[in-house]
C-alpha cells in the first residue's frame, strides 16, 4: 500500500507537474473572474469561495482519466489485480487515490490561500475555504476513481470521465461552498455543512474504492 503510494507520487513528480498544470488552471480561473464580474470588490469577495471551489473542482478533474489507464497500458494493472489476495483491490484503489490527491489535490489546497488574497477575500473566509477544500477535494478524487475505473478501457476518456464524475461531486461542492460562506456571512452556519462535507468525503472514500475495485476486476468481460 505504502509502496504503491510512493510509486505513484514518484511517477507524478517525474513525469512532471500534472499537479502544477492543475494549479495553473486554478490560477487562470481565479484570474478571469474579476474581468467577468467587473470591478465590484465586495461582490468579488462575496463569491470568492464559490470561484475557488469551482476552480479547484475543475482543476482536480485534470489527469483523473489516466488514473488506471497508465497501469492498464503497461501491464501493471494485471499485477495489481492479481495481488488482490495480499492487498484487496479497494485498498489498492484507495492508495492510488491518495497518491493522486497528493499530486493534484494538495497543491490546490496549498495554493488556495494565495488566490484568496487575489480575490481580496476576508481572512477567515480564505481560511474557511482552504479548510473546506482540504476536506472536500479528496472526495472528488475518490469519486473520480469510480469514473476512471469504468472508462479505463478507453484510450483517452478525459471528457467522458468528467461528464460521469460531475453530477456526483455536486453535493461536495454545495457543502463546501456553504461552509466557506458560513465562516463570514451572518446567519449561515459553518459547522453543520462542514460536518456534512466531511461525512460526504468519508462516504465516498469508502464507496469510490469499493466500486472502482469491483469495476477493475470486471474489465475483461
Amino acid at each position: 500500500m505504502i509502496a504503491l503510494i510512493i510509486r505513484d507520487v514518484r511517477l507524478g513528480i517525474r513525469s512532471g507537474g500534472s499537479g502544477l498544470i492543475g494549479v495553473l488552471f486554478f490560477l487562470s480561473v481565479v484570474a478571469v473572474t474579476p474581468f467577468a464580474i467587473g470591478p465590484d470588490l465586495n461582490l468579488l469577495a462575496q463569491i470568492g469561495p464559490a470561484i475557488l471551489w469551482i476552480g479547484a473542482l475543475l482543476a482536480s478533474l485534470l489527469g483523473l482519466d489516466r488514473l488506471f489507464q497508465i497501469d492498464l497500458e503497461d501491464g501493471s494493472l494485471d499485477v495489481l489485480v492479481l495481488a488482490r489476495h495480499d492487498q484487496p483491490l479497494a485498498l489498492t484503489v484507495f492508495s492510488k487515490c491518495v497518491a493522486h490527491w497528493l499530486i493534484t489535490g494538495l497543491p490546490l489546497v496549498i495554493a488556495a490561500p494565495l488566490f484568496g488574497i487575489l480575490l481580496n477575500m476576508p481572512l477567515e473566509a480564505t481560511a474557511a475555504t482552504t479548510a473546506t477544500l482540504l476536506m472536500g477535494t479528496p472526495a472528488i478524487t475518490f469519486i473520480g476513481a469510480m469514473g476512471a475505473s469504468v472508462t479505463a478501457t478507453l484510450p483517452r476518456g478525459g471528457l467522458l470521465v468528467s461528464v460521469i464524475v460531475l453530477p456526483f461531486v455536486i453535493p461536495v461542492l454545495i457543502f463546501g461552498v456553504q461552509a466557506a460562506l458560513g465562516a463570514t456571512l451572518a446567519g449561515v452556519p459553518f459547522m453543520q455543512p462542514f460536518l456534512f462535507l466531511c461525512a460526504t468525503t468519508l462516504f465516498f472514500c469508502v464507496l469510490g474504492p469499493l466500486s472502482a475495485g469491483y469495476a477493475l476486476r470486471q474489465l475483461e468481460g
Binding site: I6, V81, A83, E220
Partner: protein, 210 residues
Amino acid sequence: MLIGAMKWDDMRLVVEDLYVSRGGRTIFEGVRFELARGQGLIVTGPNGAGKSTLLRAIAGFLPLDRGSVSVLPNADPVWVHAHFLNTFNAMKTALTVAENLSFHQQFTGAAALGVEDALERVGLLHVLDNRFGDLSTGQRRRVALARLLLNHRPIWLIDEPTTGLDKASEATFARILAEHLNGDGLVVAATHLPIDVPGVKSLRFEEAPV
C-alpha cells in the same frame, strides 16, 4: 501466502474442461490438464490460437464459459499463489530499474531474492539506476523476468517470456525456469521459441481438421 505455504508439499494446479470465449467467439473448448509441484507446461500454437487467452483465463482475468481452474488441495483461486507475466513488462518507464523492482517486491508479499540479487541473476546489475525507459527491448524484458524472483510464488504463468532476448539470456532464463521447477514450483509458459527445460509437459494448439 500462508495458505500456499501450509499446503505447499501436495499443491496441484487443476484445470478442468475449460471453455473460454472472447468477443462472442469461443476460443477453445474442454481444455483440461493437471500440474503437480515441479511440473511445467509449455503452451505452443500459431498466432491467435489462444495461448495468452488460456493464461489469462487460468490467472482469473477472464470469465469462464464452462469448467474450472483451482489450486488443490484446498481449492484456492490461482491468483493467491501465482506470478503472472503478460507480454507487457509491468514497469514504469519514468522510474529507475531499482525503483520499479523494489516497488514490486514490497507490493507483492513473501519476499524472496533482493532487488540486486534478482538483477544479478539476469545479468543486468549494471542498469540498476537507469531509467527503465532508457533500456533496450531485451534489457526491459530481462528486468521484467527478474520480477518473478523477487517474491516467492509457487505458480508461474508467463506469456512469451523470451521475446527480444539474446541467445545468452534465453539460456539464462531456461536455467532460472529449471531451478524454479526443481524448487517445487509450477510453471505454465506460452511461447514460440523452444525453451529447453527437461521433462516439461506440452500443450499444443492445432488447427481443427475441417
